[in-house]
Structure formats: structure tokens, C-alpha cells
Assembly symmetry: C2
Homo-oligomer: 474 residues x 2
């Protein structure tokens, strides 16, 4: 394995991104157009994400299930907004074995239809509610331009689907799940996010409204990172999810869905990584520490084993690199793979009673006495790294967040140092489309409960209704 050169992120961000994906062995291109192979280093990150989110979902009363991956066309068509939104980007199965199918089926681009159809068979009384299910699965959208993790035809995700007795309960669920995503991003991925509501134009096909978390990447481009939708009774009417309520009347259930995907791995890369490779926040890193012995001395071997056991007993994930490569090569590999802390131990260090720690985030080398409590020390170091990554990302976002009152400023910013633009909006799609003419600037979300910064819409000058965050999107 060779540590390939990585393009500088300040020179060519797009090239840098794919260089990181390849150099850190996160994914490789496959011979299936628009689809990637998620390699062990990438998949291990996904497993950590799954474990963490899954626990949060279960603690809030959700259960996992598994729906079919195929959706018969007629079932898909029952909700017209959904089929209109997704029709251009689904793959159709038209043949099973040797036979042409009587009805074609699409590979799920999302599973509202299947969940709704299933829920209609489950519910008869308010006593059956709420039902809060989630599934971890693959979905397929026939994208034309693809990029590893960010936009690929097939991707992995989780989609939660819940139905409730009342509007209020469903809306609370929608909000709660957004908060869970926010917590996960900020506490685990060390990525600060902005939360808000999508505009009508940008909301999910079929939703009454969509809540979103939006993150800012190193290059000032924003990433829609997870979404939570409130459907009201739209799907329950289309799919006949009725129950007898507490007044013994038939009522349609209130519904939500929410999802997050392997796209989060792309976000992780674009927020934290640098020109030396991947940088992983300790709380999501599959391996938090790389222990690298220098030389073949028996004493070193014993010490390395001792430290490995001590870290493992303290719940710190680590590995010892005992391969035949040179120490320098191993250092570089741990670095490009984003391992948060590297421990180096050689015979000379032992003689001098020393141990060396290298932080991946700052690349700082710290020499300590071997008398310290190593696991306690590493735990503190991991905490520092986690906080430092979050603070760096937050500072960058703050530096790249601008309040604008006219389109000239927006244009100037988007042409030089793009980021989040805060600006007032009248609520018309026309003004959204005008904004889009400036380098594709789109509304990211409507900020609720924020003080308005102007009375007038930044585009048309008419009365403003909402404070909106705008940005260029992935």
C-alpha cells in the first residue's frame, strides 16, 4: 500500500476530496456506474454511526424493521407528489427470471409508500398508536452526476417512519428527531449545524414541511445533512391509514419520516480532514489510537502489549501496527487514515523512560514520562481533540456566515469566500429563483425564533416574512 499524494484542499477542493476518499481507503469506484464500493475503513465509520444513532433511536422508543426493496408501480403512484418527485430518478425492474413482469417495480428511492401500506393494515384504534419504526437499508436514486458518499446512485441510510394519534404528537416527533440528529452531529461528529425549516420549494416531495440540519464544509459549501419530515395526513389519506379515535370516530393518522445516510461520511471528510489525509473525531473513529512499535526489541514488544491492554480495558479502541513496514510508513498510514492519536515507542524511549503521543488534529508531538497513567492521559487527549475539532469547525462557520441586505453583497461573497448568507425573504419562489442565479445560491432553511435582521426581502424589497440561511449546496 502506498500513501498517494493528496492534492491541497486550497488548490482543488473537489480533487482533494476524492484523493482523501481513495488515500484513506474509504471507498473505491466500482464497475457499476454511479455506485461505489464502501471499503473497510469507510464501512467501519458507518458502523460506528449506526451503533450510535441506533442507540439514540431505541432510547426514544423506536424499533427496527425491514421492508422489501421493491415497490410495485401502482403502490408508488398512490401519492402523486411522491411519484412526481422521484419518478425521474428511480430504477425499474421489468423482468423476473425469464419473464416480463405484468407490473414493473422500482427499487426503493425511499419507503414512505411501503410503510404507509403496511401501517394501514396495523392500525384500527388509537390504542395501536403511536407506531415508531425505523429501518437501516440501501436505497437507489438514478443520479446523473455522482460523487463518493455525497451523491451516489445507491447509498446506505436509515429511514424512520412513525404514525401518531394527534398532529401535536407527530409534530413533536418531527422536532425530537431533528434534535437527535443535531446532537449526533455536534457531540459525535464534531460538526456544528444550523437547524430550520425548508422552504416549500426545497421540502421533501409529499411532506407538509421538512426540518433540516445544515452544515458548512471547509470550502464554504453547505451540506444538507439529515432531514425530518412532517406529513400530516397526506400519506394516511392516500394509503388509508385510519383509526377510531377517542371519540370513537374514524380519523386519519398523523405521520412523520426522518433520515440520515452515508452522506454523513462525506460531511465528516469535508469538515475536518486536511492535506495530510483523513481526520476523524475520536467519538466516531473506529480506532482511536494507533500504537506503533519502533524496532524489534522484546522490551518494546512487551511495553506495546501492556499499553494496548491498558487502553482496551479503559474502553479506548486501539490497534498495534506489527506489520513489516517501516515506522515512517506506519506513521504516515495512521495519519492518512485519520487515527486521532498515535503512540510511538522505541527502545531508546524506554531507556529514557519516555513515550511519544502525536495528535492527528494538530499533528503536535508530545513527549511524556512513562510514569503517567496512559489511559487517563489518552482519554483526556481524545477529549481535547474532539473539542478542538468542534471549535475549529464552529469558528470557520462563524467566519463564513454573513448577514446580507442586498444582492450585490451576496454576489461578492459567493464569488470570493462563500458560506452561509443570512438574509430576509418575502416567501415567494420567484425571489428564491432569482437568488439561485447567483452561483446557484439556494435557501438552506428558514430560521425560526430568530430576530429578523431587516423588514424587506433581500431580492424584491417587499415585506419580508422569514429570516433565511442561504448557501451553495452539495
Amino acid at each position: 500500500m502506498k500513501n498517494k499524494a493528496i492534492t491541497s484542499r486550497d488548490v482543488d477542493f473537489a480533487k482533494w476530496y476524492t484523493d482523501i476518499v481513495r488515500a484513506a481507503h474509504l471507498a473505491s469506484y466500482s464497475n457499476v456506474k454511479g455506485c461505489i464500493v464502501i471499503e473497510p475503513n469507510g464501512y467501519a465509520i458507518w458502523e460506528r454511526m449506526q451503533q450510535t444513532l441506533d442507540k439514540m433511536f431505541k432510547e426514544t422508543g423506536h424499533k427496527n424493521i425491514c421492508m422489501p426493496m421493491l415497490i410495485p408501480e401502482n403502490l408508488m403512484k398512490k401519492e402523486s407528489d411522491l411519484i412526481n418527485g422521484f419518478a425521474p430518478e428511480v430504477a425499474w425492474v421489468t423482468q423476473g427470471g425469464d419473464k416480463k413482469l405484468e407490473e414493473r417495480m422500482c427499487i426503493r428511492p425511499t419507503s414512505e409508500t411501503l410503510f404507509s401500506d403496511y401501517y394501514s393494515t396495523l392500525v384500527s384504534s388509537y390504542r395501536d398508536l403511536p407506531i415508531k419504526y425505523n429501518q437501516w437499508c440501501n436505497v437507489l436514486r438514478w443520479e446523473k452526476e455522482t460523487r463518493p458518499f455525497l451523491r451516489s446512485r445507491e447509498f446506505l441510510w436509515q429511514e424512520g417512519h412513525t404514525i401518531h394519534e394527534t398532529k401535536e404528537e407527530a409534530e413533536n416527533e418531527t422536532k425530537m428527531m431533528l434534535e437527535i440528529y443535531k446532537k449526533f452531529f455536534e457531540e459525535y461528529l464534531a460538526i456544528p449545524v444550523i437547524t430550520g425549516k425548508k422552504t416549500e420549494k426545497e421540502k421533501f416531495a409529499g411532506a407538509e414541511y421538512t426540518l433540516t440540519i445544515e452544515a458548512l464544509m471547509y470550502n464554504g459549501v453547505s451540506l444538507q445533512s439529515a432531514t425530518s419530515h412532517y406529513f400530516g395526513q397526506k400519506f394516511s389519506k392516500a394509503y388509508d391509514i385510519k383509526f377510531s379515535n377517542r371519540n370513537n370516530e374514524q380519523e386519519y393518522a398523523y405521520q412523520t419520516s426522518w433520515g440520515s445516510s452515508t452522506r454523513m461520511i462525506g460531511g465528516l471528510i469535508m469538515v475536518h480532514s486536511d492535506d495530510n489525509g483523513l481526520v476523524l473525531p475520536p467519538k466516531i473513529a473506529p480506532n482511536q489510537v494507533a500504537i506503533i512499535p519502533i524496532g524489534n526489541s522484546e522490551l518494546v514488544k512487551v511495553k506495546v502489549e501492556e499499553i494496548y491492554n491498558e487502553l482496551n480495558n479503559a474502553g479506548i479502541t486501539s490497534y498495534v501496527d506489527n506489520s513489516e513496514k517501516s515506522p515512517g510508513f506506519k506513521f504516515a498510514e495512521a495519519e492518512v487514515n485519520g487515527i486521532p492519536v498515535r503512540i510511538e515507542i522505541g527502545e531508546r524511549d524506554l531507556n529514557e523512560n519516555k513515550i511519544t503521543f502525536v495528535r492527528r488534529d494538530t499533528r503536535e508531538k508530545i513527549v511524556e514520562s512513562l510514569n503517567i497513567d496512559v489511559s487517563k492521559y489518552v482519554n483526556e487527549l481524545l477529549s481535547k481533540i474532539q473539542n478542538n475539532l468542534y471549535n475549529n469547525a464552529l469558528k470557520r462557520r462563524e467566519d463564513l456566515t454573513y448577514e446580507c441586505h442586498n444582492l450585490e453583497d451576496v454576489e461578492k461573497i459567493m464569488n470570493t469566500k462563500p458560506g452561509f448568507i443570512k438574509a430576509m425573504w418575502c416567501g415567494s419562489e420567484e425571489c428564491e429563483l432569482k437568488m439561485k442565479e447567483i452561483k446557484g445560491t439556494k435557501s438552506r432553511c428558514i430560521l425560526e425564533n430568530h430576530k429578523h435582521i431587516d423588514d424587506k426581502c433581500i431580492v424584491c424589497g417587499k415585506e419580508a416574512k422569514h429570516l433565511v440561511v442561504w448557501g451553495i449546496q452539495y
Copy 2:
């Protein structure tokens, strides 16, 4: 929710099976033909299976990855045995969005092609080997007749794919994985299995040979429960997986694959469950204990909470059923759902310093003093249940395993009390087909390192080569 009547397994085994699947809420039929919805109770079992096997795979040096679900037709066709074996049962995607595809793609029925294609890009030297990857995913086979978990168009599974430097190493991998499956079945699922090699006729399309574990169900029908294949260089030649060996010569890699699926849930049901519902071995049960309070007294509530905490702290998974249903209904529900131990506590019990345990396997009710160490007691009880289930299954299999020396005996057995038939075989497909005429009796596997029980083939009377286990299969 209503505990539906369950047909007796001695009256109509097939009906009993689907009754259990529905009554224990493991799966339901979907509106996608031949596909099921795996419901929370079923999916939680799958999650336990995944966690346990995944740990065993990782401990033996395997890493998880994720391959695309679509396979372009040309890629699939490179290995002719494979495409011939699977062509009648794949689903074809012919349209993406609005466009007809230039090359159709099938939804993976298995992923040898994709792994081989990927491996050909990874390997150049013996130093790159072995590569031992696994993936957890969904696959699709266009089956005509389907049954929940046992045979459904889409199912969940894991497929391991490894490549090696030498034949010997690859063959050892093939054997090791079979042993892992055997261990998992016997120690966790409490299902005794027979291990052996498939005949040429029954082996996996494209394999040099297939090792299998075979289990016997309550009704004497056998279930192929997991398989491990040795491919030799067959795929590596078709997909050009070459490396320079230690002699600096180009050589084709040696390959294996091995898989197990949600079919294991079907096996669990058919080995252990009874006319009162599902029975789960404690080591695979998502919830090992159901704690059911009787009455609403505050004292009971406090005691129930105390026991719940004690069990949880001891690593025993349990839940308290605080729903508004009657105690009798809760008992029935815990029973039909297969919870290994039920704890009942009412005010009268507390006054008499008593606690009641009910074993799901024997349905035995045990009243104990409240002075006992509850978590220790439950742990011992769970152990007893696990062993009892295994021993019952083993005894049944032994009772239903017959040595036969002529076809009349086979016919008599298969018409009255079917099971595993041990009989000698000459090695010809013709004799296998003759055997199949007896109620579909097929070779399950060749027993290796077993003493031969006869010199002659049970069918043709010619010289026997192998001792074979025969049975009727799912």
C-alpha cells in the same frame, strides 16, 4: 393485539409455521409479491444473530464492506456456471429514470462477481493477501413459491468472500467458517447440526466444493442452514485476480465464500417452537425475561423496578410489561413471543415473600422465596433452558436418524416418520436422482471421516464411495 389461535404442529406443520410467524409478530406478508415485512420481533432476532456472528467474523480477521446491489449483465456473465445457475432467478433492471439502459443489470442474487471484479483491482503481490471481507446485505432471487424466512424473493444475509495465496490457506478458511457456523448454531441457536460436503449435483454453482451445515426440523424435514464454498481458482481465472507469488511468478488467487441468512430464523422456529407460540433459546432471545406486575399496588411497582434494574445490571435483557392489558393477556403474549423466562409478581406474592418464575421451554411454574439472589437464579435458569432446548433438539434428531441399507426402508421411513437417512452411495448422479423419486429425498451432505456402514451403494448396489446423509429439504 389478539393472540391468534395457533394450529397444532402435529396436525398441520406448514400451517403451524405460518401461524407462529404471524402470532409472534415476526413477519407479515407485504403487497410486494414473494417479499415479507420483517417485523420488530423478527428483526430483533436478526440483530442478535448479526451481532453474534459479526463478532466471530471479526475475531477471525474479517472486515465488513459494502458492494453495489446491481450487477451489469456482462460482469455477471464472466463466470458461466454462476450465470447458468442463477439466470432463471434474477430480477433485471432495464430502465433508469426515463431511459432504457444500454446494458441491463440484475439485482444481486449473490456477489461473487462483484467481489471478484473488485479483488482483481486490489491484488498485485502475495503481500496483499489474504483479503478477508464480508458484507451484510439484502439479495434477491426470483423464487416462485415462497415461505416467510425459509424462501422469500428478497432476504437478508451475510456473504463472506476471501482470497488467498495458497490452496491450503483457502481450504482452511472454508473449513474454519463452517466451524464458526456450527458453533453459532449449537451454542447460540441450540440447534445441533451435521457438517459435510455437498455432492456435485447439490453444490453451489461455480464452487469446486461446498461445505454445509444441515439441521433437522421438528417434522423431520432438513434445512440447509449455512454454507461455505471453496472456489479454487475458478473465479480468479474468470475475473483475472492475479498476483506475483513468492517465486515472483504470476499466479491466480485461491478463493472462498460463505453465507448465512434470515432463513436461520425459520430454522429457530421449526426446531424449538411449540403449539403455544415461539420458543427462543436465551442466548439469541432479544429479551430474555418478561417481568409482569399483577395489580397496581405501589409496592409491586417498586419491587418490579428493583428486579428489572438488578437483571439489567447483571447483563440479562428484560422488559417490564406496564401496559394496560390484563395479567393473563400479558402472560399469553410473553409466551407466544417466546420470552425464555417470565417473572410474575403481585401484592399477594409480596406479602407471602414469594416470586414466580415461568420457563417458556417447559412451561413449568416455579415459586421461590424473594430472598434468593434473583439475577443469579435467572442466569442459572437461562442456562438450563438453553441446554434443555439443545438436548431436546439433539434427542429428536437422534430419534429421527436412520441407517438404511435398502430403498424399501428409505421409502417406509420417509412415508411415516421422515428424518435423516444415513446410507452409502456410489457417487453417481443417476443414483441421486433415483433416491429423489422417494418423496423428494435428496443428498444433504457427504460425511467425511465417518466409518462406512456398507460396501455397496444403496441404490445401484455397486461399490460405494461415500457415506451420505439424505433427507427431504426445505
